[in-house]
């Protein structure tokens, strides 16, 4: 009960100190009044005597009031408030300093918070699957193609599954696209075709209904589908009675049996529904048909290394058993590493390093600023000390100032971070994994707060301690200098500027290298044109178009109609323009050439006759495909120059080859294919990757139901999408088109990650440069103002203003020179860490290093020039008169 009373009293005192003061005064006044009255009884000689007597009996009113107040515990807060108010007043007086300091801190902290949020979301935050770090992706390590993440053949995978002792789950899955019809406009959806075991490896839990079981993997039992939360909300309004409803995928009806949550993003975040995996009979025994992805889970207590060794041994056994498995190993990657691959991870750590550098520079700047200010206020401080302020009190006041400064900067920085995170996703490539998970969260706030506090203490403490150690007599003497403006202080300040410049050199070098990589890549010849081309994908459902002739007929009709559209210059089809990491490829045997064991596989794509013209690919020899190359006529192919180098060194036209390297002489099943044309190399794997051995077949002979239609237009390609859609609908009303974009957009998607990292590092380098320059300017400016007297003397003794200015600039350049040199040395060692991101330029590229050094020296000279000019304009008389 009295605990409550005590608490109430304390709270009331704390929150209404003004009232407390007033009431205490009132109470004491009342006391004195009563006492005066009492005293007056014995003192008839005058009321003033009574007042004095009462006063005397009371004692020192001020002292007791203060003692009471101190007892109430308000004293501490009083001091704090006093310090804060004083600090704010000084901020208002020196607005320039405050703005620069707060902005510097805000930029440093804001950038840290924003980037840390990104790194946190992409790398640090665990995936939304239980025990995600025990889920592993199992790949085939294709040593022949130097492809570490290749897909499996079904028998190989099943052998791995049966013989391993380290995985509790291992099974296959694929990604597929389906045409979804039966609910509204036909639309193309991305689907996961998964075995039930693969789903349970991920501990998938449906939010409604259930998932499929191994029973559904039997042909005939698989007419079921699990939809994702996104699809559930848009097409079925989130209605739980969706279970049992039918939908049509590629013309085949399936029943919805469950809904998976939106956070379940496997195989990719774009996956919208899942169907059971039914392995066709011929795939079960085809050890050389590779098209299965695999996911599994480590057994409890088994380490990644053990699993790798275990599966590696099985792969070796299989290689010994089956000659087709030679050179195939196993790669096991934990899921978190797979989602955010090593390149992106390196990029992010590089960026984090850049941010740390910027923060350091920002802190150094503010430290320097405070140093300078402390020196300027030395007089004031020493006077206060002479008047009796204790060391501790002074330090506390200065610390309060710097903490307040960093608090202001921190708040501004957090606001900046929120703003930046709104803008960042727009700059980032849209397929950056887990982009949706990026937002400012509690961890970030905590780290930012910690950084703020440490920053405050860091740059508040040193000047504070330095100032308080000032020797009184020295400073109070006329024209004397104290601790922070003496020789030692100058050296410290110069040292800080040099260190900042060194950091900037490292950052600028990094940015420069990335820029050069970018430029080099931009200049790499693609081998084809990407201008004014519209690209869209169509997938004809096998159910509706079972015969190859039907597929061919559809696309031929489509191309004919499209070519007739006004504004269309040419059109063609190809199965896939840009090669993925696992393209459609196989080994070949060229006539008259013995296969070598290190022969790489050749990629194959079906193209329509007009395709090479449409994309501006150059035919080097022979002819293009025509309409007469079709099913039933002689099998023909066009190869690229790279394939000619490997397989047909003595000319390719007219030469023949066969599929496979096995060497069967059965010509009915495996006929000879004749090369009729050679096309110039095209960089289809990406601008920074080598060209593969490529071959093209007439699409009429391959009749693949999935095609990329490329249309060259006169004018903006995207404006033709509507018309194309109409043309498609005329031929087949239920056929959707997907991924309509320009060829340039498609290409830029590939380099988006690179551009993103380059932009970010570039921004940081620019930021760091400006901060460092502000710092350099500030320091020189201050030093000049301190030496005004000396300069005045010099000029009075006859030195001309030009010489004075030159000496200031020379000094500044000396400092810059030291900093740049140190920076270059550090850069030469650290840029090696980012070499994975570079292309066509070495980490120690002399051109970049040289350019950075020259730029920095030039800009430092400029930063020093302005204060130097001010020094030159010093009027000797005024300077000498100054204190």
């Amino acid at each position: 009960m009295s605990l409550l009373a005590a608490l109430r009293h304390r709270i009331r005192t704390l929150f209404r100190p003004g009232t407390y003061e007033r009431e205490l005064r009132e109470e004491i006044d009342f006391h004195l009044e009563l006492d005066t009255k009492d005293q007056a009884i014995d003192r008839p000689d005058g009321p003033s005597e009574a007042t004095y007597a009462a006063r005397r009996r009371f004692g020192n009113v001020t002292r007791y009031s203060e003692e009471t107040r101190e007892m109430s515990g308000l004293g501490f807060f009083d001091m704090l408030r006093q310090d804060a108010r004083f600090a704010l007043r000084t901020f208002r007086q020196s607005k320039g300093f405050t703005t620069v300091a707060v902005t510097t801190i805000a930029l440093g902290i804001g950038a840290t918070a924003a980037i840390f949020s990104v790194v946190d979301a992409l790398i640090l935050k665990p995936l939304p699957y239980p025990e995600a770090d025990r889920v592993v992706m199992v790949w085939m390590d294709n040593r022949k193609l130097a492809l570490h993440e290749d897909v499996h053949s079904y028998p190989n995978l099943m052998d791995l599954k049966a013989q391993n002792r380290s995985l509790s789950h291992l099974n296959a899955y694929r990604e597929a696209g389906f045409n979804l019809t039966g609910t509204g406009e036909p639309v193309r959806v991305t689907a996961g075709v998964m075995s039930a075991e693969a789903l349970s490896a991920l501990s998938a839990r449906p939010i409604v209904g259930q998932l499929f079981t191994a029973e559904n993997e039997k042909s005939g039992n698989d007419a079921v589908v699990v939809i994702g939360e996104g699809l559930w909300k848009t097409n079925f309004a989130g209605d739980p009675s969706v279970l049992g409803k039918p939908i049509e995928l590629n013309g085949r009806t399936r029943t919805i049996i469950g809904v998976l949550p939106g956070t379940f993003g496997f195989p990719s975040e774009r996956t919208q529904l899942w169907v059971p995996l039914v392995v066709p009979e011929n795939a079960r025994t085809a050890r050389s048909w590779f098209s299965w992805w695999a996911v599994g889970k480590l057994k409890p207590g088994v380490s990644l290394e053990q699993a790798r060794a275990d599966l590696g041994a099985i792969a070796k056994r299989l290689a010994d058993q089956y000659p087709t498995n030679r050179d195939y190993g196993v790669t096991v990657t934990p899921l978190p590493e797979q989602v955010v691959g090593p390149t992106l991870r390196t990029t992010l750590w590089v960026i984090l390093g850049a941010v740390a550098a910027v923060l350091l520079i920002a802190c150094a700047n503010v430290a320097n600023l405070l140093f300078s200010r402390a020196a300027v206020r030395e007089r004031e401080v020493t006077v206060r000390m002479a008047l009796g302020a204790s060391n501790r009190r002074l330090v506390r006041q200065l610390l309060t100032e710097s903490l307040l400064l960093s608090a202001l900067g921190g708040v501004a920085g957090i606001a900046l971070a929120f703003g930046a995170l709104k803008v960042l996703p727009r700059l980032a490539p849209s397929d950056l994994p887990r982009l949706s998970a990026i937002h400012v969260n509690g961890t970030v706030l905590l780290v930012t707060t910690a950084v703020t506090v440490v920053t405050g203490l860091l740059f508040g403490l040193v000047p504070a301690v330095q100032t308080s150690r000032t020797r009184l007599s020295e400073t109070l003497r006329e024209g004397g200098r104290g601790g922070t403006s003496g020789r030692g202080g100058q050296r410290v300040r110069r040292g800080i500027v040099a260190a900042q410049l060194a950091l900037v050199v490292v950052l600028l070098t990094g940015a420069g290298l990335l820029l050069r990589t970018w430029v080099t890549l931009q200049q790499v010849q693609l081998g084809f044109s990407a201008k004014n081309e519209l690209a869209l994908t169509l997938q004809l459902p096998g159910v509706k178009y079972p015969q190859p002739a039907q597929v061919v007929s559809f696309y031929e009709r489509l191309l004919e109609r499209v070519r007739g559209m006004p504004g269309v210059e040419s059109a063609g089809t190809i199965e896939a323009m840009l090669l993925s990491a696992t393209p459609n490829s196989t080994g070949i045997t060229a006539e008259g050439r013995t296969s070598r064991p290190d022969d790489k596989e050749v990629t194959f794509d079906g193209i329509s006759p007009g395709f090479l013209n449409t994309i501006g690919a150059r035919l080097v020899a022979g002819r293009n495909f025509t309409a007469s190359d079709r099913q039933g006529t002689m099998p023909v192919a066009i190869v690229n120059e790279q394939a000619v180098k490997t397989y047909f060194p003595n000319g390719a036209i007219g030469k023949r080859f066969r599929y496979g390297t096995g060497g069967t002489s059965d010509t009915t099943q495996n006929p000879w294919v004749t090369v009729v044309g050679v096309v110039a190399d095209m960089r289809r794997m990406g601008v920074d990757k080598a060209v593969r051995d490529e071959a093209f077949l007439p699409f009429a002979q391959t009749a693949s139901s999935r095609q990329l239609v490329v249309i060259r237009t006169a004018g903006d390609p995207l404006s033709f999408v509507g018309q194309v859609r109409r043309v498609v609908r005329e031929i087949d009303p239920a056929q959707p088109i997907s991924n309509a974009e320009t060829m340039e957009q498609m290409l830029s998607g590939r380099v988006a990650e690179r551009r993103f990292s380059m932009t970010l590092v570039g921004m940081f380098a620019a930021l760091a440069l400006s901060l460092a320059l502000i710092g350099a300017y500030g320091v020189t400016s201050y030093l000049v103002s301190q030496r005004t007297r000396e300069i005045g003397i010099r000029m009075a003794l006859g030195a001309d203003s030009q010489r004075v200015a030159r000496s200031v600039v020379a000094e500044g350049l000396r400092v810059a020179g030291v900093g740049v040199l140190a920076g270059l040395i550090i850069a030469m060692f650290t840029t090696r860490l980012a070499s994975g991101l570079l292309y066509g330029v070495s980490p120690r590229d002399p051109l970049t290093l040289g350019a950075v050094a020259v730029t920095l020296l030039a800009v430092s000279a400029l930063a020093n020039y302005l204060p130097a000019r001010r020094a030159a304009r010093v009027d000797p008389l005024t300077a000498l008169r100054q204190d």
Binding site: M1, A6, H9, E27, H31, N60, Y64, S65, T68
Partner: protein, 116 residues
């Protein structure tokens, strides 16, 4: 004016403790305002305890902070606003403890002075 040095700590504690005890005892008689408390103590001690009136207020603040008394503004007999202090249950409890402690001290002194 130079800041007054406080009395030697031990003596200070004794004084503080005694004053607290006297104030608490006074308030068991009835709730009163600061002036009344100090006059009561002066009167009943026969003028021996002649403390500076002002020293009451830090003491009262301390007692309030520890929840031993509660202060409330009310009206004096002359119609003026005054703060009246009331002892709480915890205050009474503390008073008992302080009295026992004080008695022990007295007994100890007595023992030394009058013992063999």
């Amino acid at each position: 004016m130079t800041p007054t040095r406080k009395a030697a700590p031990a003596q200070d504690e004794l004084l503080k403790g005694t004053l607290d005890m006297l104030v608490l005892r006074t308030l068991t008689v009835q709730s009163m305002h600061g002036y009344a408390i100090v006059r009561h103590i002066e009167r009943l001690s026969g003028g021996v305890f002649n403390i500076e009136h002002g020293s009451l207020y830090p003491a009262l603040e301390r007692l309030q902070k520890n929840g031993l008394v509660v202060g409330k503004w009310g009206e004096s007999p002359t119609g003026r606003r005054a703060r009246y202090y009331t002892i709480t249950a915890a205050g009474r409890h503390m008073l008992g403890a302080k009295v026992s402690a004080f008695d022990r001290v007295l007994a100890a002194i007595d023992g030394v002075m009058n013992g063999v």
